[in-house]
Amino acid sequence: MTRKVTINPITRLEGHGKIEVFLDDKGGVRDAYFQVVELRGFERFCLGRPAEEMPRIVPNICGVCPTPHNMASTKALDDLYGVEPTPTAKLIRQLHYNAFYVEDHYIHFFFLAAPDFVVGPDADPAERNIVGVIQKVGLEIGGKVIDIRKRCRDIIRLIASKPCHPEGGLPGGVSRGITAEEREWIRKTADDSVEFAQFALKLFKNVVLDNKHYLDLVLSDAYKLQTYYMSLVDENKKVNLYEGKLRVVDPRGKEHALFDPHDYIDYIGEWVEPWTYIRLTHLRKVGWSGLIEGDKTSLYRVGPLARLNVAEGMATPLAQKEYEQMHKTLGGRPSHHTLAFHWARLIEALQAAEDMQKIANDPMLTGKDLRNLNYRLKKVGVGCVEAARGTLIHHYETDDNGIITRVNLIVATQHNAAPMCLSVKKAAMEFVKDHKVKEGMLNMVEMAFRPYDPCLACATHALPGEMPLNINIRDKDGSIVQTLKRP
């Protein structure tokens, strides 16, 4: 008899999804599926829209990660119109981008990941939330996280209107400049972000790495997956979140490809399965391998750990030191330990903060030359950035009038969708045996996909009371044969 465990909705992540776990005759896990149950069709309904409206439309794809969509779109317009942003405009965009990275990575780490890590994966669920985290790290630090998030969002608001839905973004520039007065508070925010980033890494080391039990979990097979990795790198093959070439390394860390984002179609294929609305990306030159890991796989991962696996170093000095330590601790590059996404995330937040500091002090930041209007419509534009969750590609084509005729978008979650499926299955196999679903199994399974996705568990975890959660174990016909409840 095939039994089925349904987790719906999966919670504490952004987007709609569903996990189905099928049990075999012996009561072990036969299969598991991570299903994306939604599609909106942006690629189709953007046809006929003026290209310059795209940076205002596409952030609606995701309100948690809207800045990367706004930025990829704006860069696609630069390309489409054959213009480079002015130096001041580029700095302003990068300031916006780094501020987003800092706030987004902390939201993810402290409110989503930290309950599992800092409080403990098998701690009492009633404590495994941000209240538990604050109890462990102190109220002052909790306040600091909220403060840094708020101040970074103020930078975004200044440059791009609403942080949940940035509105700026013009080909060849930005719509609004920065004044000398604004620079002062931006500089202060950048300095405090660097200081906080170093502190967050220290905290991670104290709480997680110095605890053998947690470190073992990070290094355990249940949370390990051998795949390729993809990300943007700069000309020195260092982590670059805003621009560069796409590099892919194989499961052993050897370079598989290094290409201009314009050539993405030659390298990336998207497989279609009838059980999910998401297209499953894979390496076209390897060929679709199905949902497998190891040397024969064509699956690759993107996001913080992928970037630190692909790049040969960080672009800023403090982050570089941390990068070296991470790879040393995890046994060399590439690291296949899914939970290490969280560690990589903190190192990236440090690079983004250091970068923000550099920009805040750049004399050009307050320049007055905000637009390059030297257009030469090319009718094809590709914009690629590293979103917090991974590589994001926007590809537009237009008619002679700059009206959209074709759109192709590849978002981070697509690259990771098939690996997420596998990660969930591996974790489920570890925690379901002999018809017995171990207590805490649900969280262990959810822990397998949380490293990939951001979320806004945020302040809401400060709710009093518990978060009861049931697992229904169903037979083939869907009737419940067992119910497990969290206390």
């Binding site: 719906n8 909705p9 119109y81 440059i159 719509s175 279609v272 905000l370 809401t460």
Partner: protein, 325 residues
């Protein structure tokens, strides 16, 4: 102690920005959490739908719903929450009017599927697969919600008591709405919990806008460097301010970007696009109707500008909704 009112926050076809907008009320959220019992918030809390199913009808005091209805899951969740709730608040442009993704009503489900699963240049699909509501994979049955032909605003699927527009709604209006509910100081059913004026009435650039504007040539935003101090319409740049409800604090105008209408139509107007067209006609500096028509014809994407956030609930959108769910 009296039991706290139960509140659900839920998304349908949303982007998550509306959920983030709730978080953006920062410290106020603590006050809310003190006063109410949050019983569902998928993005943040681990409650599942069957917890809601187990509740009595009307047991939830308020459901705050964001996102539009695009598939059978959205519809089921909306209906479930309606049944269990005394009040339903449509939160954000998607729930209120269908939102930007509502522009998909100009195209068919088939067109969308063909591009996404067949024609996009990156697709590799030798078996010609596309998502199915029910499919058997090696003897295991997997299900997906049914993708509808159309995008629906929330009130086209369930009864809605109050509306809070914006993409997403700004923190001050979110706080006001929550306070009104908690203190039971709500306006009549069906009200929009935002100012009744038009955005132009509160816009700092309004003083530069004469009664009659001489636009003969409509410019696109990337073509010019807009003067940050004068009305966009005066500069020949489309700005939906005359037909859009105030309340966002001129968020876009402040970064020198014109309004696209995420707050929806002004009070008493059902069709935002028609209202804007007539506002535009009255300010364009040409005498006869033919000329007005010619000016409007130079706009490349009338629907995308005039109905950016409201196509499903517009006159145009309604025509198409015959194939009901």
């Amino acid at each position: 102690m009296a039991e706290k009112p139960k509140v659900a926050i839920c998304w349908l076809g949303g982007c998550g920005g509306c959920d983030e907008a709730v978080v953006d009320i920062n410290e106020v959220i603590l006050r809310v959490v003190d006063a109410v019992d949050l019983i569902l918030w998928p993005v943040a809390l681990d409650f599942k739908y069957h917890h809601i199913e187990a509740m009595k009808d009307g047991e939830i005091a308020l459901s705050v719903i964001n996102g539009h209805v695009r598939n059978s899951d959205h519809k089921e969740i909306a209906e479930l929450l309606r049944r269990k709730s005394q009040l339903v608040l449509a939160f954000g442009a998607c729930a209120c009017f269908g939102g930007t993704p509502g522009l998909a009503n100009l195209t068919t489900k088939e067109d969308i599927f063909n591009w996404v699963y067949r024609d996009a240049p990156t697709v590799v699909n030798p078996k010609g697969n596309h998502p199915q509501p029910k499919v058997s994979v090696d003897g295991k049955e997997l299900t997906l919600p049914e993708f509808y032909e159309h995008v629906y605003a929330l009130n086209q699927v369930i009864d809605v008591d109050y509306y809070l527009p914006g993409c997403p709604p700004p923190p001050d209006l979110v706080v006001n709405a929550i306070t009104a509910v908690l203190e039971a100081k709500l306006p009549p059913k069906g009200s929009t919990l935002a100012p009744h004026k038009a955005l132009c009435d509160t816009c700092p650039r309004n003083k530069t806008k004469p009664a009659k504007i001489a636009i003969s040539d409509i410019k696109r935003i990337h073509e010019v460097e807009a003067d940050p101090n004068s009305c966009f319409l005066v500069q020949g740049i489309l700005c939906l301010g005359p037909a859009t409800r105030a309340g966002c604090g001129e968020a876009c105008i402040d970064i020198n970007i014109p309004c696209r209408g995420c707050f929806g139509p002004v009070e008493g107007v059902a069709d935002a696009g028609a209202k804007f067209a007539s506002a535009l006609a009255s300010i364009i500096d040409v005498e006869d109707e033919e000329e007005v028509k010619k000016s409007i014809d130079t706009i490349d994407d009338v629907i995308g500008y005039f109905y950016r956030f409201s196509l499903p609930s517009s006159i145009l959108g309604k025509k198409d909704l015959k194939k009901t769910i």
